[in-house]
Assembly symmetry: C2
Homo-oligomer: 403 residues x 2
Amino acid sequence: MISVDEATRQVLATARPLPPETVPLPQAVGRVLLEALHADRDFPPFHRVAMDGIALSFEAVAAGQATFPIAATQLAGMPPQALLDAQTAVEIMTGAALPPGTDTVVRYEDLEFHEVNGQRIAAVRVPPPVAGHNVHRQASDREQGALLLPAGIRLSPAEIAVAATIGAATLQVARQLRVAVVSTGDELVELTETPLPHQIRRSNAYMVQAALQQAGVQSEIFHFNDDQEALRQGLPPLLAAYDALVLSGGVSKGQADFLPAMLRELGVSQIFHEVHQRPGKPFWFGEKAGGAVVFALPGNPVSTFVNFYQYVLPWLRRCEQPHSKLPRPTALLATDFSFAPRIAYFLPVRLELSPYGHLLAHPQKSGGSGDLASLLQCDAFLRLPAEPTDFKAGDAFPLVRFR
Amino acid sequence: MISVDEATRQVLATARPLPPETVPLPQAVGRVLLEALHADRDFPPFHRVAMDGIALSFEAVAAGQATFPIAATQLAGMPPQALLDAQTAVEIMTGAALPPGTDTVVRYEDLEFHEVNGQRIAAVRVPPPVAGHNVHRQASDREQGALLLPAGIRLSPAEIAVAATIGAATLQVARQLRVAVVSTGDELVELTETPLPHQIRRSNAYMVQAALQQAGVQSEIFHFNDDQEALRQGLPPLLAAYDALVLSGGVSKGQADFLPAMLRELGVSQIFHEVHQRPGKPFWFGEKAGGAVVFALPGNPVSTFVNFYQYVLPWLRRCEQPHSKLPRPTALLATDFSFAPRIAYFLPVRLELSPYGHLLAHPQKSGGSGDLASLLQCDAFLRLPAEPTDFKAGDAFPLVRFR
């Protein structure tokens, strides 16, 4: 039986890069950029006025001049007005291009205005300390041609704004992953049906679909009873059409657990079966050449949940961003905790960000891998190693977060 | 001029609870539940077999019996088979309902099987330690009628799964917020246009729309030039139709900054104008009775960004979840930092989760509130108070996170 680390490594090794597709800018948020974007102009593209006030020549102020007749007014968006007489000033607004002949802006707060014979005059109360004051100099942030957004990054609102600034109305992004969620199990009825006393309603497929949706991945749900013939007919089209199948149930040691054999029969090569962990040990993982990878997760709801976040989500992320390091968050155990079986344990925890910036993990009670309701009080699992069996408050462990 | 804390308090005070709407379960992830959901049955609804193996009477094992003829086989989803003879056992699979007459399950790993005259017989290699072993007892997680999901919570995959389990095919959730993003400014051209040397392309509206989308809020973008008549005609329908307007630009001291007066003229009561912070000081905030609240943000891109995450996003969250505490995350300054002006400063930072579970904030260089590209290297702002002016590595401050 392999370890969690080895299973994770083998899962990630099957990730395949996604081809590009073109989408309009407003639809690109959250997607992965597959082209490099460069500055089409300097950033800022001109000496940009950073405060409302007057633009003048610093030399005149330095020479002791304190009052400046207003020669012109320039709002943002107007072509710059050249200052012909260095003893005057241009009244000017934030966002405007600095007028030729000026190099400095004095803001309204540091000015007083009066009028003489209909001529508006600004008196400088607080002289600017240096030339260039309140001017956001052309190219001071980025030069024309500079790389702004490299291929491979995920697009957040800041990147969307930068792309808009350079006129990228459409973007090349990684195609969205296609995932089929497959539930099996004769004990499961549809959520609109009334279960018989020995039946329960289907929930894992909805949980997996919701988790995929939160990860920005669209999916479709398929259900098969524990009927080998239906699966033999139904799975091949899914293996051909989707990037990944996420199954739950049918992979333990039970008599109805024929999925591993069935999947091998359908040409899905087994990569591993069973991981040295609790819950979620009977996880089966395989790949069809030229087709989908198959995550066949054990059907107990907490097992399905643990394995989705430990294996499926990192695989999706690796497909989207093959060259990015995956985050490896940790948290501190908030109280001492003991777990006797010598097997990696995914401890359900509630997280708290302490006032001192520590991420604390509080262990929560759980009725085991069937106790779906226990997840309602939890935010994450803390992954405790197989050894030792006694864990101390304050120790840091890998965190598998689902909220 | 009011403080950031006071401005935040006044913004949140205008949040209005949202009415319910009904959505199908798969569309409810990320939404806020507005009804309480109770367990329709016990959790689990029956004594649920937790391992593949045999179900038997613990008393027989305790009395020394080591071999058990298999009287029946029961897969998950089959009605339970009553065990009539306590000296025999039922071969049984995970998820099945425990047969009457049995109380304990021995898993396959602890059994050996042989056959005598066509009768399958299980030999118990490792006796169960207690009665009830490997049985997930009816109602042990939750009892019928128990509150599972209270009104007011946000639905994550775990809640979706629990809702599926109790057959909630549709859910009452808070209606989605309706937000109009309004950009103003004559210097701005559409992103498909080629700007003149003194013009730039519109980016704030796309940034705000992307940030809203990441928060699960749909929005529409409207642009007005700095044309008072166009705004006088165009804003009233938006004030009537939307929950909130997010404007950027037109609120500073400049001659084209007529928005505050215009908004008051249109019946939007000013709640405050200007906050003692950098960047983003000229923020104007108001509310129209019976209509939208108006966030008129300063137009420099970093100012827009800071104020969106400090004020707009918490307001959206408070509308969706009026009774929930807003998160107040903090992070530790990673290096000493000085900021001389005695004004609250939103310091751009890159975040790092240390191996010891500390969230560290590394200050990043920024060319000021116009330096949009500087956001690409940042994950958040650390909110430093107006006093003191020298901040020490390791001190914790409020965190405004945008990535």
